[in-house]
């Protein structure tokens, strides 16, 4: 997009034939295309990309979502940054065995030289279409007459070419300029992690102590900036994870368990595993309390909401299982999981040796160490999610439905079927974790609470600004609630999602302690080995029923944040193929406007007339001035000077 905006004559494309007008027939290029959402596919976009007659694009979101599916992501997500490569399982690399996202068009990874805007509000789309109908419709086969309705889109992106180029320019600016003009920022946020038994977060954990890691991602993406509802791809998995954490913490003998459990929420996984690659890097470089040796096993939850016949599939890595000891551990892991599903409305099935792991954070851990692990998903081969990483991955996609006519409070508390189904999965996971951690008692008491699950689904998918979220966050960040929920990782951190996951986890797994506000905000660290075990948070509390003030309190939990910035930026290897190198360009103005444009002829006529009048008047005045004594003879005043 250009610095001063791109202008074009509006043309509404609702069917394929309309495209010919833009590409070949229309007499007034360049055109600004208003595209119907159902035509927003790879074929049409590549045609528009290849022509110079298009100066911009506005896409009207398709309602309802396109039935054949739509995904601007790759067919093989995060390819090249997982564990499979030419050196490790080459038959599985580059999706040779299984194409995970067959609907994927790869549009998000194409370079378009014109601005593309999304129109979600049908009223705005109607205004543009009305202007088009009034002025731009071709009459009787010939072209429409000027003045024509045109649109101007401003979305100049400061960065060009690639991360290497823009980071190099930014670093030159920062080093040498007084007023540095940085052009791009690396994608950056925080991972949220918490342990079942508290550990010293600034020290190192004893190498003999074993930890089971449970992981999910908390971010998603779509073609358009800051629109990433991610219902199936992210929210379903981390909500289940949070519910399982809550259920496990309620078990009576957690402090006696042999192994610890670490609940990890990775940010930035959509962009080549930013969060998990950073955590592995920190573990290798001893910057994290745990080391890779401490990890006993790994359980990951991927997309779990669209189960068919209530089947949950267990994926494992066939290549590492060729090692006998790893195979034994994986086998026991799978058995414990299967046993935990007895009595629940979920049936767990193994995928077997024929398939590799789907794209998951576990792959980054496998790159470093052959840890036994399993990835739970609702799909056996290709994704069940037909809207992976797109703007259509909405609550409707996971069949989240509320009855009509409920107030926001009632909707918050209403337990949907989707919530019940995810609670079942969470129960199974919690029971399995209890067994894996060495728990010996019966697990029937461990249940995930569907009421919690439904509140989380409402908050993360429908309305962030609800009474439960308001009561569990710190008073000074209550401004983050109130936007439409979306889960893009962004460049200013932490994003709303990270904050909310942190505080929800603290609320579900922490304990309320009786401290005052000053004590809570500045906890005295007792001497000895107890430093940095807990995090204390002073949260708002809920609204008193009959008053407008809140009752705040102090929550003690083991929830910590760890930086999720790709190691490539720490090492300044901007062209790295080992770690993620995603950056977001900076921009200043993003706006759009519509107006009429005049024909070239009228503009030229105006200019020529003006110049002609100027020249004529100069000449006339000169001659009148020169011959003033001829024109004006003043009888009364002989001493008058000539005009």
């Amino acid at each position: 997009a250009s610095m001063s905006g791109d202008t074009g004559v509006i043309h509404v494309v609702e069917k394929e034939e309309d495209l010919n007008w833009v590409l070949a027939d229309g007499p007034h290029p360049p055109y600004m295309v208003l595209l119907d959402g159902n035509l927003f596919n790879r074929r049409v976009m590549l045609q528009l990309k290849g022509t110079s007659r298009v100066s911009g694009l506005a896409v009207a979101a398709a309602k309802p979502s396109p039935p054949q599916g739509f995904s601007p992501g790759l067919q093989c997500p995060n390819d090249g940054f997982g564990v499979y490569s030419e050196d490790y399982g080459p038959q599985f690399a580059h999706c040779n065995t299984t194409v995970w996202n067959p609907v994927g068009s790869g549009l998000s990874y194409e370079d378009f030289h014109f601005p593309i805007f999304l129109l979600e509000d049908a009223n705005e789309t109607q205004v543009i279409k009305q202007c088009y109908q009034d002025h731009n419709v071709p009459r009787d086969g010939s072209g429409p007459e000027y003045p024509l309705c045109a649109m101007q889109l401003f979305s100049h992106m400061h960065a060009v070419t690639s991360t290497v180029t823009c980071m190099r320019r930014s670093s030159l600016q920062s080093t040498f300029s007084i007023n540095p003009e940085v052009v791009c920022d690396p994608l950056l946020d925080y991972n949220v992690w918490s342990t079942l038994q508290p550990i010293n977060s600034s020290g190192k954990v004893d190498p003999q102590k074993e930890v089971i890691i449970v992981a999910t991602r908390i971010d998603s993406h779509s073609f358009f900036w800051n629109i990433a509802p991610g219902a199936e791809s992210a929210v379903s998995s981390f909500v289940t994870h949070l519910a399982a954490a809550e259920a496990l913490h309620k078990a009576p003998d957690v402090h006696l368990l042999r192994r610890n459990v670490m609940f990890t929420f990775f940010q930035g996984e959509t962009f080549d595993y930013i969060g998990s690659s950073r955590m592995v890097y920190d573990m290798e470089k001893d910057k994290f309390p745990l080391r890779l040796d401490n990890i006993h096993s790994f359980v990951e939850l991927n997309q779990v909401a669209l189960r068919s016949n209530s089947t949950l599939w267990m994926h494992t890595d066939p290549v590492s299982r060729t090692n006998a000891s790893v195979e034994a551990q994986v086998r026991s892991l799978l058995d414990i999981l299967s046993n935990s599903s007895v009595g629940a409305n979920v049936s767990l099935q193994e995928v077997g040796y024929s398939q590799p792991l789907p794209p998951s954070s576990f792959q980054r851990f496998l790159r470093a160490r052959h840890i036994p692990g399993v990835v739970l998903t609702d799909h056996r081969t290709a994704f069940q999610n037909r809207y992976y990483q797109s703007m259509y991955d909405t609550p409707q996609n996971i069949r989240l439905q509320y009855p009509q006519g409920l107030s926001p409070e009632e909707t918050l508390e209403y337990v949907t079927d989707a919530a019940k189904s995810l609670a079942e999965v969470a129960t199974v996971v919690a029971r399995a974790l209890y067994r894996l951690a060495g728990g010996a008692n019966a697990t029937s008491a461990i249940r995930a609470d569907p009421k919690t699950v439904t509140r989380m689904l409402y908050g993360f998918l429908i309305k962030m600004n609800n009474s439960w979220f308001q009561s569990i966050i710190k008073p000074d960040i209550k401004g983050i609630l109130g936007d439409v929920p979306q889960h893009y990782v962004a460049v200013s951190s932490p994003v709303n999602t990270t904050y909310l996951v942190q505080y929800v986890l603290a609320n579900l797994t922490g304990t309320v302690v009786n401290l005052t506000k000053e004590e809570c905000l500045n906890p005295e660290k007792p001497a000895g080995g107890e430093q940095e075990m807990y995090e204390y948070a002073w949260v708002q509390g809920s609204l008193d029923p009959n008053s407008t003030s809140r009752v705040p309190y102090c929550v003690r939990s083991t929830v910590h944040l760890s930086k999720a910035l790709s190691p490539a930026f720490e090492l300044r290897q901007w062209g790295s193929t080992e770690y993620s190198t995603w950056t977001e360009s900076r921009w200043k103005d993003i706006r759009a406007r519509i107006f009429l444009v005049a024909s070239r002829e009228l503009e030229i006529i105006t200019l020529v007339v003006g110049v002609a009048v100027l020249v004529f008047s100069l000449l006339a005045t000169y001659f009148i001035n020169a011959k003033a004594d001829v024109l004006f003879s003043i009888p009364q005043d002989p001493g008058a000077v000539a005009y």
Binding site: T7, C131, Y146, P147, C149, A150, Q152, R593, I594, F595, L596, V597, A598, L602, I605, T606, V609, G610, V613, L614, S617, L618, A620, T621, Y622, N625, K627, V630, L631, F632, S633, I634, P635, D637, G639, A640, V641, Y643
Partner: protein, 232 residues
């Protein structure tokens, strides 16, 4: 045209430049006062009442015309006083500039300021790719505005000459004629966007005022013929 007039007739003489700038300032002050009155009237009334707002606008325009002419009269008084001062300062007992020349320069000053006021906003908005018309207005807006501004500058010049001549020779009907002409031209702009209703009468009035001012300044049909046939 205004640029041409300025370059060839005014720019050489510093005294004329001073009179020009002062004239422009007087016009600006008159507009400021009249706009203050209009603004107070608008704020004190209901903004949603369309006919009332239109009525207030007409009232504001008429009041502004009257105020402009009043300031022209004040300027005449000031220049009269200035001529006495100039005569006192000069060496040969007569002023370096006559009242007719002052009238002409004052008129150009008024016209320049009025033209600038009309056009600068328009030119600033005209930058950018769009043009007028999305709510149904005419395409020719910029062209007609430019022509209207030009005619107004000429008119102010001629009115300056007529007005000062009337004040000088105590011919009140000349002054009244100027005021009536000004009101007529301003009123005709309310015919817009029917541009023929405002441009045509204004150009006709300008032609009439031009002839009258020419005759008052010492011209005649004879002189005109001699000029056009390039005789000396």
């Amino acid at each position: 045209p205004a640029l041409g007039l300025f370059l060839f007739t005014i720019a050489r003489d510093p005294l004329r430049i001073i009179i020009l700038i002062a004239g422009a300032f007087f016009w600006l002050v008159s507009l400021l006062l009249s706009s203050l009155i209009w603004f107070i009237a608008v704020k004190a009334s209901d903004p949603r009442d369309e006919p009332l707002q239109k009525g207030l606008l007409i009232f504001g325009v008429m009041f502004s015309v009257l105020l402009q002419e009043a300031f022209r009269f004040l300027y005449y008084k000031l220049l009269r006083k200035a001529i006495e001062g100039l005569v006192a300062l000069s060496e040969d007992g007569c002023s370096p500039i006559s009242i007719q020349q002052m009238a002409y320069v004052a008129g150009v000053g008024f016209g320049l300021m009025s033209g600038a006021f009309s056009m600068i906003n328009l030119l600033a908005d005209a930058l950018g790719p769009g043009t007028v018309g999305i709510h149904g207005d005419s395409q020719l807006y910029f062209l007609t505005s430019a022509f209207m501004t030009m005619v107004l500058i000429f008119l102010h010049t001629f009115w300056g000459i007529l007005f000062f001549h009337g004040c000088e020779h105590r011919r009140w009907w000349e002054i009244v004629a100027v005021v009536v002409m000004h009101l007529a031209v301003s009123g005709s702009t309310f015919c817009n966007p029917l541009y023929v209703g405002s441009l045509v009468p204004s150009y006709l009035l300008m032609a009439a005022a031009a002839v009258w001012a020419y005759l008052l300044s010492g011209g005649s049909a004879q002189n005109l013929r001699r000029f056009l046939l390039c005789k000396s």
